[in-house]
Symmetry: C2
Subunit: 412 residues, 2 copies
């Protein structure tokens, strides 16, 4: 998942590096922790943003510019989440001074070491996609500068000094300037070299500096709404929701070899498909490296027998493959029980073993849940209602990825 070699992407015949200013203080969220360090599923926001660039083969280096006091924290994040393209540098007193520090850090002194194009992005815009970054990089190469824009959501008005309406702007003529922005290295370098102390202290717009001091008119490209800047407390809930959505797109159901559990697997596949989850049904998982490298969630079915040892194997394999490095992986153990009523061994020992196993797995970012799927002995098939109930519970566990509920044995 970590980018690997610098394979050329068709069309990117030039070098591209990234500067990520990450020095914000987060006053607008009303939180103590700056937004870029707020964690989602145990991982700081800045790591998601880094990953959005690091996974692209045509991105060379990522310079993260942080406040002096966040430097140790940032280095720890880079190490913990095994980021390989990142250099951490200290920021200046203002946003522009920080960005210039980042731009300068890309010049290592070796000839040919500076990138052709620099992309500047905000640490708190984690959901930028490859196709849009490509557009920005290409437009920067061609025009010297480029920037993302969005339509205005509100009418913009000018106020009088006494706080009354002076006039309103015609909304169609203006745009909101967003990130990412792209620059030829020498354009952004020259813009900062020539700009005034006032620009450094009070300027807000890199594109404006490029226009004023390098004579470069930026090409503006409308970006998708997911580019938005995480600003308010409510945005944190939006981020969490988007991350969770992206993680529950697919699952792998394994069955224990019995016909009954294979049938159940296929029923589940159908119902969860209607929830927009793509489900594969496999007889066995263990030892298959290709299974572990995919962005799957795991559902293990077993009939009557416990099947917990197979679940334990899965957890060990996921651990060995380092699959839960960037986000928690969900494993749902579904135990189909066709006996009438529940005996002590089934309801007593199972839940306690599950709880212990789940506690250990949680330490490795693997979230294990159990579902007891009880059918009376007369039921030979699976009723639509009972499978739907099972699918809903399973989907909820996978979607919510709630660590507090790990180890619980639910009933369907």
């Amino acid at each position: 998942r970590h980018g690997g070699g610098h394979k050329a992407t068709p069309g990117v015949h030039f070098t591209v590096s990234v500067v990520l200013p990450a020095g914000g203080t987060g006053e607008r969220t009303g939180l103590v922790t700056p937004k870029q360090f707020c964690t989602f599923l145990n991982r700081p926001l800045i790591s998601y943003t880094i990953q959005a660039f690091e996974r692209l083969s045509w991105i060379q280096h990522i310079v993260v510019v942080v406040a002096e006091e966040s430097s140790a924290l940032m280095r720890d994040i880079v190490q913990r989440f095994q980021h390989t393209k990142v250099r951490v540098v200290s920021g200046g007193a203002t946003r522009h001074r920080s960005i210039f520090n980042g731009v300068q850090a890309l010049d290592t002194g070796e000839s040919g070491a500076t990138p052709d194009v620099v992309i500047i992005h905000d640490a708190v815009r984690p959901f930028v996609e490859e196709d849009f970054l490509l557009e920005i990089a290409m437009a920067a190469k061609e025009n010297g500068a480029s920037g993302a824009i969005r339509p205005l959501v509100s009418t913009v008005i000018a106020t009088s000094s006494e706080g009354y309406l002076d006039h309103s702007l015609e909304r169609g003529k203006y745009r909101a300037s967003e990130m990412p922005q792209g620059f030829l290295y020498h354009v952004i370098y020259q813009a900062y070299q020539k700009c005034s102390e006032f620009d450094f202290d009070f300027g807000t717009e890199c594109l404006h500096l490029a226009l004023q001091h390098a004579g470069t008119k930026a090409k503006l490209i409308e970006g998708p709404p997911t580019l938005w800047k995480v600003t308010y407390k409510r945005d944190l809930a939006a981020v969490e929701s988007i991350i969770k959505e992206t993680l529950c797109g697919s699952a792998c159901v394994t069955f224990d070899g019995s016909e009954r559990s294979r049938d159940l697997g296929r029923c589940l596949q159908k119902v969860m498909g209607s929830f927009d989850m793509e489900v594969d049904v496999l007889p066995e998982l263990i030892g298959d490296a290709s299974c572990l490298s995919r962005e799957w969630n795991f559902i293990q079915l077993c009939v009557n027998g416990s099947g917990l040892s197979e679940v334990e194997e899965t957890v060990k394999s996921l651990q060995a493959a380092n699959r839960a490095l960037l986000h928690p992986v969900v494993v749902v153990w579904v135990r189909l029980d066709t006996s009438d009523g529940m005996s002590v061994s089934e309801t007593g020992a199972g839940p306690l073993l599950l709880m212990e196993l789940a506690s250990a797995a949680k330490l490795h970012n693997i979230l294990l849940y159990g579902i007891h799927f009880l059918l009376s002995e007369e039921d030979t098939g699976f009723s639509d209602g009972s499978v739907k109930r099972l699918a809903e519970l399973t989907y909820t566990l996978i979607h919510d990825r709630n660590a507090v509920l790990a180890g619980q044995m639910l009933h369907a």
Copy 2:
């Protein structure tokens, strides 16, 4: 909760009514359902916005303006959630035509029937608070017009016709115009009577029309960030999160009379206080009407005995008091068990009875969950770790308010 009589609020010595345009099509969320009709905890967004006004004694009428095809749906919502101040009228072809329809609907022809002040608000800004509405109403009474503003989050830029940067605006001089806005009735009426067909079709800003056609300079007041307009798909997650936060502020713990359960109640109170949940501990709930009228969640503790019949009583009382009309109410049954191991009767019958009771309660918007809190017989007190675990589970159930998990028996 529904406003009751029109008590005068200190300072509001004039009449105020509201126009809520709710005709948007929701294209920007990418959803089929327009945002104002998207449901959160089984209730459409528009009902939350209506409630924000209806609960205020100094608001007289609320005119909701909807597209012809949403009229039946809107009337159904008004009836289902027992809104008492609402009149539903049909909109025009554009936002301004719709608002004017709403303004005209406030004039019933009776002398003195039109309000002194009209507040115009968006159906998709549900979190407006009384103090801010008061400011807007007062400023409208005094100045003829008033409007909410917010600082700009992004730099606003002007683009050339070829899509290049032309210039950027100085951010400090401009503001985003938001809702609510307030007007003297005759000011907004005159603005619409005098404005052109072009204004009706392409205008975006009521404040601008009041300036142009009634010569009224609106007073601008900075509002809180929670005023934002629900626009994108990500905003739906933010709305849900804010609603859930407001619902998990307080809980009532009842204990079964035993010293053990009272002690546990006090331990829970302490730990859940550290999660920012205000917890009251009471010996009994049933029959106390004041308990049922509060915005509480309910936690019922019992030692060894089942206690499910008391839970059933609570559910019935909440139902009788119509407590779950506007949002689901959570009841958590905590069963303290000091026997070693679990017997069939405890683990088998309990969960099945709970599931049945929860299914019935869910039909009335009451979400019932169980937690089996197992202590070995040697434990005489409650360890910090075990109470923290119980508190976390309880808090998660109350906070997440997940209907799919209703009826589950969890283990702490």
